[in-house]
């Protein structure tokens, strides 16, 4: 059961081979047993999970079960959950119990899924290693000395270690795809606007997008069917007809045109990672897909553009944490300015402060045109590169990250080294495009490598199909990490 797909779990529940309470107990026990060494969960609320499971079993007994009814899911601690802690990995929200559920939480609740717990994450989703969490770093199940990636590192580690069948995450510049790659699981960042941001703590609103992490693409499709869809409460939610994200899972890849950006296969990418990605592409070619070289000429500008725009938006979004209405408040403030300044000094960690300060600077008088406006212009050039590329190809493939998981502490001293690791994930975020990362093998140290597949706007079902075909012919996604055997 621990290594089963969501469809297999659904069948077992439907056939009454297991109840949701039993399944939930199984994952709760495993999560509890492994959390001491992985630190993947911030909150596990056993009573809440079992209450959800009992409700799911009752729903099934009444004949109202859907594909996710009774299946336990872990949620990134950025999604507001009524009645239990939503910390966003920060001291600022270490006492925050939301009065409402995020849209995504409501959707999974309506589908009858069980809330298994809230996963660890980089503070306010700001990081690529999960080391900035107030609750301490998450350890990679493939090598406990290494990071699982970030910012959805707790979700990726929980799925990799089979502590949860699947999980939610959010992706602003790669925060679903990069941890999926580093932890050896699959993760999808949908088209901007497909999943409602209501109740999802905001980092950079023009980029933030929720999405699923799971072992394989077929599971991601089932999760997308529940979490995607219009929500009037998010002004950027797209009002489009509902779609079945599993509809292209069995579509053959013959004739698929795969774009290979020359900028993604050059210097600066680890040789083992490139070799694994090329092997995966060779498999697609053997099935009749056609690889074409393309250019995404402004790729090297994507990281600078991202770190101007995302940080500018973050400095505005995080101004709401002022100690007045919820969250942390500094003790004995002498006046309101002192309350703001000390609350924020105490409540935010070092990386969040750095980012707020950079964001404040690039928006400040005299610098706006040189930084923010220029970044918005280069953002358009990056988006135009993709528009041009999709005239010649259906999907774009390359490595998700320039290297496999690094050691905890290895990149902490220099934020820029950490930021440069986002080079292949931020372009799709800036252009609002969907992209998936799937496991495609291991490096010489036994660490997972991720293949990123990017599609045009609303091509999620096609991406999931391409990934699923590959996963039917490979078993990288169903391998269990050696540090967390079943």
């Amino acid at each position: 059961m621990l290594n089963a797909t969501l469809a297999e779990l659904g069948s077992a529940l439907a056939a009454k081979r297991i109840s949701s309470v039993e399944l939930t107990e199984l994952f709760l026990a495993r999560a509890a047993a492994l959390n001491g060494s992985l630190n993947a969960f911030i909150t596990i609320d056993r009573e809440r999970s079992l209450a959800d499971a009992r409700a799911a079993d009752a729903k099934r007994a009444q004949g109202h079960a859907g594909p996710l009814t009774g299946i336990p899911l872990a949620h990134k601690d950025i999604f507001c959950t009524r009645g239990i802690l939503t910390s966003c990995g920060s001291r600022m929200l270490a006492n925050f119990v939301s009065p409402y559920d995020a849209h995504v939480i409501e959707r999974f609740g309506a589908a009858g899924a069980v809330l298994l717990g809230k996963t660890n994450m980089d503070e306010f989703a700001m990081g690529s290693s999960n080391e900035t969490s107030y609750y301490g770093p998450v350890h990679n199940p493939w090598d406990l000395q290494r990071v699982p990636g970030g910012s959805s590192g707790g979700s990726a580690a929980a799925v990799a270690a089979r502590m949860a069948p699947a999980a939610t995450g959010t992706d602003t510049g790669g925060s679903i795809r990069q941890p999926a790659a580093l932890a050896g699981v699959s993760g999808l960042k949908p088209t901007y606007g497909v999943v409602s941001r209501y109740g999802m703590v905001a980092f950079a609103s023009s980029l933030d997008q929720g999405g699923p992490l799971a072992k394989g693409a077929a599971d991601l499709a089932l999760l997308m069917n529940a979490m995607a869809g219009f929500d009037a409460r998010d002004s950027t939610s797209l009002d489009r007809p509902a779609e079945d994200y599993a509809r292209e899972l069995d579509r053959p890849v013959a004739g698929l045109r795969i774009g290979l950006p020359r900028e993604y296969f050059g210097d600066g990418v680890d040789a083992d990672s490139l070799a694994r990605v090329r092997e995966a592409i060779a498999w697609f070619e053997a099935q009749g897909a056609k690889a074409v070289e393309i250019t995404l000429a402004n790729t090297k500008m994507a990281v600078p553009v991202y770190y101007v725009l995302a940080l500018a938006e973050a400095s505005s979004n995080l101004s709401r944490f002022d100690g007045a209405r919820y969250g942390h408040r500094a003790g004995d403030p002498k006046d309101v300015l002192d309350m703001y300044c000390r609350t924020r000094a105490e409540g935010f960690g070092a990386e969040v402060k750095r980012r707020i300060l950079i964001g404040t600077y690039v928006l400040s008088h005299g610098y706006y045109d040189a930084y923010y406006l220029q970044a918005q212009k280069v953002r358009r050039l990056i988006a135009q590169d993709f528009t041009q590329a999709f005239r010649d190809c259906d999907v774009i493939m390359g490595p998700t990250a320039p290297a496999t998981a690094f050691r905890i502490g290895e990149k902490s001293a220099d934020p820029v080294q950490m930021y440069l690791g986002d080079v292949f994930t931020v372009p799709a975020s800036l252009a609002g495009l969907p992209a998936i990362s799937v496991p495609c093998g291991f490096d010489s140290r036994g660490l997972p490598v991720g293949l990123q597949i990017t599609g045009n706007h609303f091509a999620e079902a096609a991406l999931l199909g391409v990934a699923h075909r590959y996963q039917q012919a490979s078993d990288w996604h169903s391998r269990v990490p050696k540090e967390t055997p079943l």
């Binding site: 119990v97 009065p99 409402y100 088209t191 901007y192 606007g193 023009s206 009037a232 002004s235 950027t236 797209l238 009002d239 402004n298 090297k300 500008m301 600078p304 770190y307 400095s315 101004s319 002022d322 100690g323 007045a324 209405r325 919820y326 942390h328 408040r329 403030p333 002498k334 006046d335 309101v336 002192d338 703001y340 300044c341 924020r344 000094a345 402060k353 750095r354 707020i356 300060l357 950079i358 404040t360 600077y361 690039v362 400040s364 406006l373 220029q374 970044a375 918005q376 212009k377 953002r379 358009r380 050039l381 220099d414 934020p415 820029v416 930021y419 800036l430 609002g432 706007h457 609303f458």
Partner: protein
Amino acid sequence: MSLSPDQIQRIAHLARIAVTPAEAEELGVQLNRVLALVDELQQTDTAGVAPMSHALESVLPGGQRLRPDAVVEPDRREEFLAIAPAVDAGLYLVPKVIE
């Protein structure tokens, strides 16, 4: 562009984050590295390029949706006040703002 500790303090004040002199020194080193990275943007020729403010631009040519100007939220005052650091008589309490 390189930030001095004084400039760091000015930005920190704008951001309403208290920063000690020692922190300002350390932040200066790190922030200057990040600024050197984002300064690379100046190398790109953007003459005649319109700024792109939103990823939706390319899929929503009509711009963002507006909702009718109607009251839709229920009154949940008690629930929201219950999670505040300090309240009194249905109001959020903060240190005195006006002398």
